[in-house]
């Protein structure tokens, strides 16, 4: 147990700069939620398995519970709050609603960010690879079938846009 001095960190979340002061041990997930007020990113296990806390860091999906806030200093972070643009839902958000890809919605932000990161890098991802990617996050309500459907539907739409 060590209580340490706080350090200044700049988190750039969805294009907005948050100058915060946190202990070096503070997780990025806690900093995003508690220090920056962006509570759309959820914490489900705090050891990197469930993926509820998935955010994009410089475009790549990352578990924000496994990073310290200081490690994200100055990096571009994207969270679920930044997906919709100008009041228009992201194709993934719309597809999750259309396909009933969520029930309780707790895991949803993590799945949305995971899928966003993957589809932006790999818009033509195969069905098999997609299931592999989606198996990195846990959902307890849907049985995954509608999540897979939703991501496929959104992928198609993102390709045609």
């Amino acid at each position: 147990m060590v209580v340490t001095k706080k350090v200044d960190v700049t988190l750039i979340i969805n294009g907005q700069t948050h100058n915060i002061s946190v202990e070096p041990r503070r997780t990025l997930a806690d900093a995003i939620r508690e220090d920056c007020g962006q509570t759309g990113t959820h914490i489900g296990c705090e050891h990197g398995v469930c993926g509820a806390c998935t955010v994009l860091i410089d475009g790549a999906p990352a578990r924000s519970c496994l990073m310290f806030a200081v490690q994200a200093d100055g990096k571009a972070i994207r969270t679920v709050e930044g997906l919709a643009e100008g009041g228009k839902l992201h194709p993934l958000q719309q597809a999750f609603m259309d396909c009933h890809g969520l029930q309780c919605g707790f895991c949803t932000p993590g799945f949305l960010m995971l899928a966003t990161g993957v589809l932006e890098r790999e818009p033509d991802i195969s069905d098999e690879d997609l299931i592999d990617v989606l198996s990195s996050n846990l959902c307890r309500c849907t049985g995954y079938q509608n999540i897979i459907k939703a991501v496929r539907m959104a992928a198609e739409q993102m390709r045609s846009n």
């Binding site: 489900g44 029930q103 919605g105 949803t108 198996s135 309500c141 079938q145 509608n146 999540i147």
Partner: protein, 770 residues
């Protein structure tokens, strides 16, 4: 066009996909303290001393409580299925004298920051003298405390002449079957925020779920407050599944602390805590036997089972063993029956209900029994089932048995018809041929069937208050709860249809005890049935008030009027003059001159009472392949055929079934809480408690049927929540047997790869592994 029966998109979704949800951890108040629980590291032990000195000296620590500090607060009481003898086994909110499981709360730390609270918890020194742990519920009972054994009660149910049935039997089959300890494990861990508002003298708890009204009553009683001065608030809930929302020690602690420390107190569970402290479920061992005639017809069933309750008896009391004993009978005609269920305490996490409680377990047992009967009399498993199914002409079928305080009367069902539909849907005969030819080529593939009866719509009541405001917006306030299942959408669909208003104008408020005095919440697949019918009745009341006012204004009789899209007009004159519900609401304002002698407000209540549950039913068909080398069981195909009387929203029903199936699959193949010989839990992270991922859950086929509407409510509704889970263990076990060409190979769930390897070694000893 009617909205009932349409796959309307959910009202719940927009905030959830945009990160605007309000889950327990998202609730914060100025000056809030954070609570951290110090938990027992031993499965069983005597508390010698607890030293909080070092922890208290940490800057930011405000208080630390141990059992003595809350000794005035009574233990947590039973919500359901109270049976005599259980009281002495209830859990106090902090342990005193003894600890009884790893995870038992022994102290509560309150600090200004969650990290500091956790630091301080590490500094609390526990001196606990370890005692031997009781870990097997089927061992002879041991001492719980002087004068009390670890068997507080035995559930006994039955009827008929069981001895006679076994005397006259052509054959007797006997099985010894076990179901593994696993649980709901929602993605959101538990959380609770207590806040005392001295200005109004109101104590509030946020993070409520499932049964906010019952919890309000209990918290008020335990803390010595009027129930009108205790408010519970449900926000978004990240999954329920039976375990979330029950009253736990931590809920009481945050409320007590908010009162005593005069600051808001927030507690958010971490995942390790969740896996050792939130309710476990399912663990049972059944010694079952059946007497059959030479055609395989059941003459009688006798079942003695051991229910591993864990360290204390929590809110569910005897619910799970009670349901297991009553629902074991399933869809079959069983003329003589005796069940003896031993409730046993062990030094493990206390147990409660989990989706299809007592049914996932007893369906596994019953359907294993049907397979054994088939093998014994030389008929196919399907034929054995068919010969014993209750016929639709026998409905309603009263079993001389009760459960959850209600008589079991199977209200409606076309059991054989659904079996036919399911087999046709999967192409059973063709499938059998395909599997046979694959087996001849050396593959271990097989198919299995599980048939079951679910239960839903537990009463005794539900109620709603519906208000149309002068702007035309409709608000429905209900005591139901939402754990993610889509209750807002379903309730709005029923209201839109009945009242004649636009679905998008309806707002559904649930889980707020300050908005409605009574409510029973969301469990036992009750919300659509109970709250749905209460909504229909409430909407009819509003409709009557509206047409009564409109009749005067439109100069006609009320029964000549119809309401469509919020506009009231003569049924015979669809294009004639109309008046909107918003206008009617204005006419009914207290100050309105047109109101006359009518009560102010366009509002209505709906109360629905029932003394019986209703009984949906289903058929699961599994096709599995077994990897001879690794012991991995892959589900290649799966069908759930389910008759729910009437599907309000087929998309949501299917979602319930597929999601329920995934959880059933976890219990059948992957998920298990295991303990070492000292009672140390071995599955405390998601790395060793294995829930199915997108890789393990196959695409499944769902057949929703409406052949047997419930006669117990006018819409014919039955519940959808648990049918996807119920028979997964049963069907998968049957399919594994078929793959191996043996009967009775699977006696224990989950069939983990290790267990599958053992089964393979026993079942196929002669075949060399490749």
């Amino acid at each position: 066009m009617s909205l009932i029966g349409r796959s309307v998109r959910r009202k719940e979704d927009p905030p959830l996909v945009t990160g605007r949800g309000m889950f327990a951890a998202d609730v914060s108040f100025p000056r809030q303290l954070h609570m951290r629980i110090v938990r027992s590291p031993f499965a069983h032990g005597l508390i010698k001393s607890i030293d909080t000195q070092a922890a208290l000296s940490l800057p930011g620590v405000v208080a630390i409580w141990t059992g003595d500090d809350v000794i005035d607060i009574p233990p947590i009481d039973f919500r359901l299925t109270r049976v005599e003898g259980l009281e002495g086994y209830r859990q106090r909110i902090l342990a005193t004298g003894k600890v009884r499981y790893v995870g038992d709360p022994v102290a509560a730390v309150f600090a200004t920051d969650a990290y500091i609270a956790e630091d301080a918890a590490d500094l609390v020194e526990l001196d606990i003298e370890e005692l031997p742990a009781t870990l097997d519920a089927s061992d002879a009972p041991s001492e719980f405390e002087p004068g009390r054994l670890t068997e507080p009660a035995i559930i006994r149910k039955g009827y008929g002449d069981v001895e006679g049935a076994f005397r006259e039997a052509h054959a007797i089959v006997e099985l010894d079957l076990s179901i593994g300890r696993h649980s709901g494990v929602p993605m959101e861990t538990r959380g609770a925020i207590g806040r005392y508002d001295a200005a109004r003298d109101i104590l509030e708890m946020y993070g409520a779920a499932k049964v906010p009204h019952w919890n309000r009553d209990q918290l008020a009683r335990m803390l010595g407050r009027d129930r009108t001065a205790m408010h519970l608030h449900e926000g978004h809930v990240g999954g329920g599944f039976g375990i979330r929302g029950e009253l736990y020690p931590e809920d009481v602690l945050v409320c007590a602390a908010a009162l005593r420390l005069e600051r808001p107190v927030k507690w958010i569970e971490d995942r390790r805590e969740h896996l050792i402290a939130a309710n476990h479920s399912r663990q049972q061992r059944h010694r079952v036997r059946a007497a059959v005639d030479k055609e395989g017809r059941i003459l009688g069933v006798e079942n003695e089972f051991f229910h591993d309750q864990g360290a204390y008896v929590r809110t569910h009391a005897a619910t799970v063993p009670d349901l297991a004993a009553a629902m074991l009978l399933g869809p079959y005609r069983i003329p003589n029956y005796r069940a003896t269920g031993h409730i046993r305490l062990t030094n493990k996490t206390p147990a409660g209900t989990y989706r299809a409680p007592g049914r996932f377990e007893s369906t596994f047992v019953r359907e294993r029994l049907m397979d054994a009967i088939a093998a014994r009399v030389g008929i196919t498993p399907v034929e054995a089932r068919r010969r014993n199914l209750i016929a639709s002409s026998e409905m309603p079928y009263a079993r001389p048995i009760d459960t959850l305080g209600t008589e079991v009367v199977l209200d409606s069902g076309e059991y054989a018809g659904l079996l036919d539909k399911a087999l046709e849907r999967v192409g059973w005969t063709t499938l059998q041929n395909e599997l046979k030819s694959r087996r001849e080529k050396g593959e271990l593939v097989g198919a299995g069937v599980g048939i079951f009866v679910e239960k839903s719509g537990l009463g005794p009541f539900d109620n709603v208050k519906i208000t149309v405001d002068p702007g035309g917006a409709v608000e429905i306030v209900t005591g139901a709860a939402s754990v993610g299942q889509g209750v807002e959408t379903v309730i709005a669909q029923i209201c839109a249809d009945t009242l004649g208003v636009d679905f998008d104008r309806i707002r559904v408020i649930h889980g707020q005890t300050d908005r409605i005095d009574e409510g029973l919440g969301a469990f036992a697949s009750r919300a659509t049935v109970m709250t749905g019918e209460a909504t229909r009745l409430g909407a009819l009341n509003v409709r009557q008030k509206a047409t009564d006012m409109a009749a005067e204004l439109l100069q006609c009789a009320a029964d000549e009027l119809d309401i469509v899209d919020g506009e009231i007009r003569k049924r015979a004159q669809p294009s004639g003059p109309s008046i909107s519900l918003a206008e009617i609401a204005k006419h009914l304002l207290p100050t309105s001159k047109t109101r006359g002698g009518r009560e102010p407000g366009l509002t209505g209540e709906g109360w629905f009472f029932t003394h019986h549950m209703n009984y949906p039913y289903g058929v699961h068909v599994a096709v599995v392949s077994v990897d001879r080398d690794t012991g991995h069981v892959a589900v290649e195909r799966y069908l759930v055929a389910y008759d729910i009387g009437r599907a309000v929203n087929p998309m949501l029903v299917e979602g319930q079934i597929v999601g329920g199936f995934a959880q059933g699959l976890g219990g059948a193949l992957f998920e298990e809480f295991t303990y070492d010989e000292r009672g140390e839990p071995m599955n405390v992270t998601f790395a060793d408690y294995l829930m199915p991922t997108a890789r393990e859950v196959p695409e499944i086929d769902v057949l929703i049927c409406e052949d047997a509407p419930s006669p117990l409510n006018p819409l014919g509704l039955k519940g959808a929540g648990e049918g996807g889970t119920n028979a997964v263990g049963a069907a998968v076990a049957s399919a594994i047997d078929d793959a191996l060409g043996t009967s009775g190979a699977v006696t224990q769930l989950p069939v983990t790869p290790q267990r599958m390897r053992d089964i393979l070694d026993r079942a196929l000893p002669a075949k060399p592994s490749r």
